[in-house]
Amino acid sequence: MVNQGRPLGPLYPGSGERGDRLAPTALGRERQVALYRLLELNRRVEERLSRLYRQGKVVGGLYSSRGQEATSVGSAFALGPDDLLGPLIRNLGSLLVRGVRPREIFMQYMARAGSPTGGRDGNLHFGDLARGIVAPISMLGALIPVMAGAAWAARRQGRETVALTYIGDGGTSTGDFHEGMNLAAVLQAPLVVIAEHNGWAYSTPTSAQMRIRDLAQRAAAYGIPAEMVDGNDVLAVHGAASRAVERARAGGGPTLVEAKTFRMRGHAEHDDAGYVPAGERAVWEARDPLARFRAHLLAEGLATEPELGEIAAGIEAELDADVDAALSSPLPAPERALGGVWEAGR
């Protein structure tokens, strides 16, 4: 089962094959360092979660985005404070960009009372409109129409809000993807959809999901612009997302951004991804988005090794505290299960 759906060689100018220069960016030093911190935080939060999972502390499954951090972080970094984010289960990095604290995520995964859902739902299934976050449901594709409607509504209210959400290669085959994209196009909703093309939907390669190579091609059916980027180049993702956000804000309607990337772990923690050919994995390991961005910062003189080391150390200290806080926090009281489907008193 070779993945015929996408090329394993050079993806675009700017990707690994040209001495690994990242895409040009308008971001200054400080912002780039902030980006780096988020990428590191994303990875390290997930490393902690893996450890907690192995210790049996995670309730249910764990879904890693290792290798895809740049698509989450780079895209969410293009949003302003009044914008909306609709993350999927692997977009932990996007949540961090929106200011979600690691302890909230640890508590979610460990089903604690102090988690954003108070233990009613798990993993990244939580939202908070105060931080511009809409919670997904598991059914893939469903967020697209919802975010399209949210974006349209905000615009109707005279707000400048742009909504950004995600879809996997697998998710683009759902009816909701189609209905949502088409509706967004018709309404000219200020919506940005990041299609994370990691080549696999669970164990199913893109070639068994569709007969096109690029997800961007799906945009033709809706008459909306699309852009393809190297999803492992955080600056490329940020650039494309920013252009799409700007277009949306200016009234130009929705954009589909395809980010080619790779899921460096299994679908979930229990999955060893034995179905992924070794060659494919190796190609992508050489394109690790963190390593590449780190190399870029150092090569461009935007940061020094000690500075980056300090960032990592700061993160580790924060995570030590957050893991401890989460671990020592209580499970919810049983009554929390009951009621609450309608507004109280109704």
């Binding site: 859902t117 908070d128 129409p145 919802v146 909701d176 949502g180 309404l187 609450g340 489907v341």
Partner: protein, 325 residues
Amino acid sequence: MSGEATYLEAVRRALWDELEADPRVVLLGEDIGRYGGAFRVTAGMLERFGPDRVVDTPISESGFVGAAIGAAMMGLRPVVEFQFVDFAANAWNMIVNFAATCRYRWGQGVPLVLRGPSGGGVHGSAFHSGCPEGFFCHVPGLKVVAPATAEDAYGLLRAAVRDPDPVLFLEHKFLYRRVHGTLPEGGSFARLGEARLARSGRHLTVVTWAAMLHVALEAAAALAGEGIELEVIDLRTLQPLDEEAVLASVRRTSRALVLSEEPVTGSFAGEVAARIAEAAFPFLDAPVARLCCPDTPVPYSPPLEEVYLPNAAKVVARVRELLAF
């Protein structure tokens, strides 16, 4: 607006009045704009309120229900029209798993009304005649309303639009132009979740809603001549159910028949019957019975649909059996 109106007109006025009263109210659906909707419920609204508030959508029920969910989260009060409520089937996942679960899972209200014509009696066949309340009343987090009168069509729709949670509002197309009522002058609305005593009686309680209310009242009138007094309860809101009103009546009459226009197996009538049978057991002088439709799709040809639907004669016959118990 107020005054004498058909059920259809009552729905129309409720929407109109809510559009006037609250700029957050928006309508979405197929052909609801210039055309005014397949049943003309939204006639004139595009002209009055503009294309930002009366939105013709592509044929994509899941898509536009989803969009309405997103819009509701952002503070609008979307009212979605299904051209026929049967097409809500295409938005099933969006309604059941998205709209209905957000408050419980992450505390986010989704004030949204999903409305459209349901019900048979007009030879619409399998896909234009459905009464889907049995499905939707099993969805935690969704409210379900099914008015039987023009007054309630008006008052409960306005209440539904103002409700902070998702409401499925089942209009009955057989009633659209067949029943009339006087709409209230002022601004006081019905509340969701309250049944109505449609007729008092002491021999047996018929619990029903929507078009079947009129069948029950017809049967009650027929039996009254023989001194048999049916008490008729119009549930109006199915979810949440006004269980107390039902039980109070059955405790008095000691007999109950649940009458609905659903295939019997898995019907909401079954839920009501089960609750009565459990909670009013010591008061019962006869089994709690159901009169519903057979377990088939709604057939098309008039003689077939007649067999399929409950009517007053069938109610009378069943009541006699229960009274003889």
